[in-house]
């Protein structure tokens, strides 16, 4: 366990959220004791890192092997023009250190692979899926299921996006949803749109850790920013899912 949230200036920082019913010092301490893996420090990773650090999550593991490019800066608000060429996870660490010195950031400047995904998830309480391709998302999903770590899925295209809370073994997983990739090429992205989806993901993480509110389980929240529409789509376990399906021996009750 980390130190107590007893420092006056640290507590003052969180006053407005600690006013919420069932939050107080207990929930704030849960946030401080938590480790969250942010997989991807790009469009979705940016609002997640900001809001999780603001909320007082004690330890953020931020994973991205990519470097900051000029064309990222319309949406990836963790980074700046001065940091073009720098690793994104390292750039995120600089930003978060300036925002909240009580948060520890671990930089993981490597690609997520089958060889390192298990170690990456070690000691992680929740993982936030902020990746930009289906293959790595499914790899992370599979391992999070094996290690029974909740994963908050988020994805975007232009001015629309999706959010779902995957809580193994109680909910369907990403593999249940994704038959195959529709289009993993360069996708359009508006900064404010990744802000909407990334913020919703961060709120799911905060709700899970604090125990305040209800998570988006068995549901995909689909947001259409073009037409200002939120839909709650059903999200069911696929009987033949090779990750979480009931026919898998390791999932047998």
């Amino acid at each position: 366990m980390n130190t107590r949230v007893c420092d006056t200036s640290e507590q003052n920082r969180y006053t407005r959220q600690m006013m919420l019913p069932n939050w107080g010092k207990t929930a704030q301490q849960r946030l401080k004791d938590a480790t969250v893996l942010i997989a991807g420090a790009g469009g979705l990773g940016s609002p997640n890192a900001f809001y999780l650090a603001c909320a007082g999550v004690g330890h953020l593991k931020i994973c991205d092997d990519d470097v900051v490019e000029l064309s990222n800066l319309n949406r990836q608000i963790l980074h700046t023009s001065q940091r073009i060429g720098q690793n994104k996870a390292a750039s995120a660490q600089t930003t978060i250190a300036a925002l909240n010195p009580y948060v520890t950031v671990t930089v993981v400047a490597t690609q997520i692979t089958a060889d390192n995904v298990s170690a990456l998830l070690e000691d992680v309480d929740v993982v936030v899926d902020c990746l930009d391709n289906l293959q790595t998302r499914l790899l992370l999903n599979r391992q999070a299921h094996r290690q029974t770590i909740p994963m908050v899925h988020g994805s975007i295209y232009g001015m629309e996006g999706r959010v779902a809370f995957i809580n193994p073994p109680h909910t369907p997983c990403l593999q249940c949803l994704a038959g195959k990739a529709f289009d993993d090429g360069t996708f359009p992205a508006v900064g404010a749109a990744v802000g909407v989806i990334g913020s919703l993901q961060a709120l799911e993480v905060v709700k899970y850790i604090t125990g305040c509110g209800r998570n988006l389980t068995h549901t995909i929240l689909a947001w259409d920013g073009f037409h200002n529409r939120f839909q709650m789509l059903t999200f069911n376990t696929k009987a033949d899912c090779d990750v979480c399906g009931p026919r898998q021996p390791e999932n047998a009750k």
Partner: protein, 88 residues
């Protein structure tokens, strides 16, 4: 029965940039078949190689949990077609 069909934005390039359709049909299969007639570019999505990459929802319920393509359509129903988004 008249049904509204909404397409997620990644599909618009296949539908002639049209996001919404009003289509008559008694089942999901009939509606989608008429959608394909109205927007031939949707063929790859609805019956072609990209079919496994999309999900179809009737009034927000995944048709895979209903009667699939044989699910009956009532007046005022809404079909929503979307791929799994992967951008981040």
């Amino acid at each position: 029965m008249r049904c509204r069909v909404n397409l997620a934005s990644p599909l618009w390039k296949y539908s002639g940039n049209q996001a919404e359709f009003e289509i008559e049909g008694d089942t999901v299969r009939q509606v989608l078949s008429r959608l394909e007639e109205e927007a031939p570019g949707m063929k790859d999505i609805l019956t072609g190689p990209l079919r496994d990459a999309i999900r179809i929802y009737l009034n927000n319920d995944d048709i895979e949990m209903l009667e699939k393509m044989d699910t009956a359509i009532k007046a005022g129903d809404e079909l929503y077609i979307s791929p799994v988004l992967t951008g981040g």
